[in-house]
């Protein structure tokens, strides 16, 4: 909660600086704010303190920052920190846009800590509304406009479906907070029935959330939106929005509806996950635009993350999802930072822009390769650790889902090899010159690569943390 307030104040400061026309200060201020918020969260985490935000006037609070939510929000803040770090300091981002990003982060944090459906709803909206704007921030380009309107319409549409689900649930159980939902679903789960009201409510909510995380068959907006939006908005969508949506998703479904798994929502999640992995990878391997490719591969990765819902133990599931998300975010950040660097050299986001990257930019290429290997799930990268954790947890429950995931991985190799094809293999006559990178970009890429490799090589390090928290 303190972190939330700090970030909010930071966002206000940024806006104020924007009004005062001193935009050059805004990024340092934002970074400072995020650092402060992160350190507060870390201190709270380490002191094993569950911050009592609940404003418990009546039974059933609004938010609860337990360990899972604090870890998720830490991940979100760290991602934004790295994203901001990788921005070119001058003029690339107005203070107002920066403020919007921070507002959006607030939504993400809410989403990771809600205990009441109202908070979930508000979290989703606070997360999305600034992004609708950011997607359309390149006002003069029709593609940016289109991305904004598509994102907006799909977002609002899915919110409406989600709310309908909430209404059904409310009618079926009479409560809106997770505790009440948990009780109700416990009773229904043990009587092995779900009233049609609850059943369809859960499915409607599921549809709404699958829209948000862009899982097949509710994915169709994401490639267009990713491609059309400005880079900074795309990277935000690909990392923070996805992570936050998953944080809320797993919280609602594991805590709220955890007990009615088998008959009600599990199968829907499994089917969506299997299709997402296979079709997402297949579609991604046909793309020629890097951002579209990442959108489709993001769909496939979403499929893997959905597998994390299948496992038996809630805290294990959350932990696995966290690891997977960390890997996914690090790899995505690396690729997007490189796209951004190329972009500032006047290149498009087409895959051809990567041609001959390997000749003069060893560090970047190394990071790109590591990130791609992590996405494929090659051992000694965090991608493998995450996939391993998720798959073994799911194996006890749904073996064939794991088979589907492995098949999808095999298809997926082709996707990421497209990058190698241009960046490393191509023997072009005029390779890219040494690219200019700012210190911030270097730090971002180095940090992400380090995370990928370190956690990949020594997973025990973070496994020990898990013992500490759960």
């Amino acid at each position: 909660m303190i972190a939330l307030i700090i970030i909010f104040v930071g966002a206000l400061l940024c806006l104020y600086l924007g009004i005062k026309k001193q935009e050059s200060f805004s990024i340092p201020i934002a970074l400072f704010t995020l650092a402060a918020a992160m350190s507060v969260t870390v201190i709270q985490l380490l002191s094993k303190e569950v911050w009592p935000v609940e404003i418990k006037m009546r039974a059933g609070g609004m938010m609860l920052f337990d360990f899972s939510s604090q870890l998720f929000s830490l991940l979100l803040m760290l991602s934004l920190f790295l994203i901001l770090l990788s921005l070119k300091p001058v003029k690339t981002m107005g203070a107002d846009l920066l403020g919007l990003l921070m507002f959006s982060l607030c939504g993400g944090i809410l989403l990771s800590g809600f205990t009441h459906l109202v908070m979930m709803f508000l979290g989703i909206e606070i997360l999305s509304i600034p992004l609708y704007v950011l997607a359309g921030a390149n006002k003069k380009y029709a593609s940016s406009n289109e991305a904004a309107i598509k994102y907006f319409l799909m977002g609002a549409f899915s919110t409406a479906i989600l709310l309908m689900g909430c209404a059904f649930i409310y009618g079926g159980t009479g409560s809106l907070d997770l505790e009440g939902l948990n009780k109700a679903s416990y009773m229904m789960g043990h009587m092995n029935l779900a009233t049609p009201l609850v059943f369809s409510g859960v499915l409607l909510i599921l549809v709404g959330l699958l829209f948000k995380v862009a899982a097949i068959p509710f994915h169709f907006w994401s490639p267009d939106v990713y491609e059309g939006s400005p880079n900074r908005a795309t990277v935000f969508m690909a990392t923070i929005v996805k992570a936050a949506a998953f944080a809320g998703f797993i919280r609602l479904f594991a805590v709220g509806f955890g007990e009615l798994k088998e008959p009600v929502w599990m199968n829907a999640v499994i089917v969506s996950s299997a299709i997402s992995i296979i079709l997402g990878n297949a579609a991604a391997s046909m793309q020629t635009n890097a951002k579209r490719l990442l959108a489709y591969s993001g769909i496939a990765q979403t499929g893997y993350m959905l597998i994390a819902f299948v496992g038996v133990d809630f805290s294990d599931n959350v932990w696995n999802l966290l690891i997977y998300l960390t890997g996914y975010i690090s790899a995505t950040l690396v690729v997007f930072t490189i796209i951004d660097i190329l972009d500032s050299e006047g290149k498009t986001s087409d895959l051809k822009a990567f041609e001959g990257l390997g000749v003069n930019n060893k560090g970047l290429t190394f990071a790109l390769i590591v990130a791609m290997f992590s996405m494929i799930g090659i051992p000694l990268t965090i991608g493998f650790v995450g996939k391993y954790a998720i798959l073994t947890a799911a194996f006890y429950v749904k073996p064939w889902l794991v088979v589907a995931a492995l098949v999808g991985s095999a298809i997926g190799i082709g996707v990421y090899f497209n990058f190698f094809k241009y960046a490393v293999m191509s023997r072009t006559d005029n390779p890219l010159p040494k690219l200019n990178t700012t210190a911030g970009q270097k730090i971002t890429i180095a940090f992400c690569t380090l995370v990928i490799l370190l956690i990949g090589a020594m997973p025990m390090v973070i496994a020990n943390f898990k013992e500490l928290f759960f």
Binding site: P379, Y388, P399, I413, M425, P459, M460
Partner: protein
Amino acid sequence: MELILISIIASIITYFVPKGMAKMVALLGAILTLAYNSFMLQSFVADGTKKFVFDTPWFSDAVHFSVGIDGISMLMLLLTNILMVVILLGAMRKEWKRESLFYSLILFMQAALIGVFVSNDGIMFYVFWELALIPIYFLCALWSETGDYKTTTRFFIYTFMGSLAMLGSFIYLGSKGLVDGHTFAYDNLVAVKLSTTESMWVGLGIFIAFAVKIPLLPFNAWQPSTYAESPTPASQLLSGIMLKMGLYGLIRWFFPMVPETYEFWSNLIIILGVIAVIHGALIAIRQNGMKRLTAFASLSHVGLIAAGIATITIVGLQGALVQMFAHGINVVGIFLCIDIIQRRTQTRDLTQLGGIAKQAPYFAALFLILVLGTMAVPFTNGFPGEILLLKSIFGYHTILGVIAGLTVILCAVYMLRMYQKGMLGGPSGENFDFPDLQKSEWPALIILSAMVIGMGIYPQWIVELTEASSENILNMIKETVEGVS
């Protein structure tokens, strides 16, 4: 453990040293590894148990970083480390672009290979198995002779799919085993009891992984073009060592994992192996590209080894191990010779070559020794292994044994054809100049030839080294089979 560390550290150092130094540092690293390996061999007692055990939790409690060396592992380690030195010596003759990266990848490969041969945990085995793929992929792709990335990508996708199937099988086995504790330990995975159906599926997963790597017949589509287009050190690594990963996997992992259905699998593998023997040899006879020829010859030899392993007899296993060692040495040597020829004449097409023997007698002699070794002439290293293998297959089924026996004749045909066309006869063109061996080519070829002769005369040490371990594995299979029936 220390072996892996040495080569990894050497690999990293190699990447960062200045250009000219890289090859020396790499060679030093390889020699150091070999030296340490010999040092380990000194204190090694081949009684079938694992030595030099090191075990620590890695991913979680279920996956440990767990290594241990028994006779078979030791043999494979020796093979790897000796060949690595030779390969580096051979490679040093050429100027490679991005030299430090090149040598660093080779050493990284060595570390991964060592990891494969010593790992004692299913997931760890998988991890190193995949890691071995990465450097070889980049070696083949970046220094490819034709610049065609498709071949290499096909190779990568083939093997990666196989590995994924293996991972699936391991996870399945793990889920059937202990839930708490070191789930993926080798002993634990082996101890899992499966029903026949489960065993078939699990076996299929692991089989695909190994069959792609070996490669057995229907999975060999990647092999010839990859061998032909890769730079020589990569071809050497692929055929000399990486292929042995698959065979080693068959011995160590595959059959002990699925003893319930071992009869089915051994029938299958023997038949595939024998077909591969004939198929590979017949194609090899018609080849003119020397590398391609060697690739198919390799296919033929490896088929025989796989068939020998699949007989699940002590003779077959021993023969396979001896022959694996011998084949590694021979094939690396032949690739080296091909490389030497190609570097001097810019071609490796048999129709354009000839008359080398007159100008470079030393080279011709050493090459001849390697060729004879491959042909399994008595008193060369190919002989004992091949005899043992054929004997085991005869014991399994007489007709198959006879068919497999043809390999001796066919092998003589294509190897001698290669030697005769390439080395003998008149000079193929004006101003034909073929300098004899130079600098680092000498030690490389001498080491190899010495090993060919030495092993031919005294193959017994391999048998002694691996006997106890092989029996262990056989017992493991037999016990389960008896327990089931």
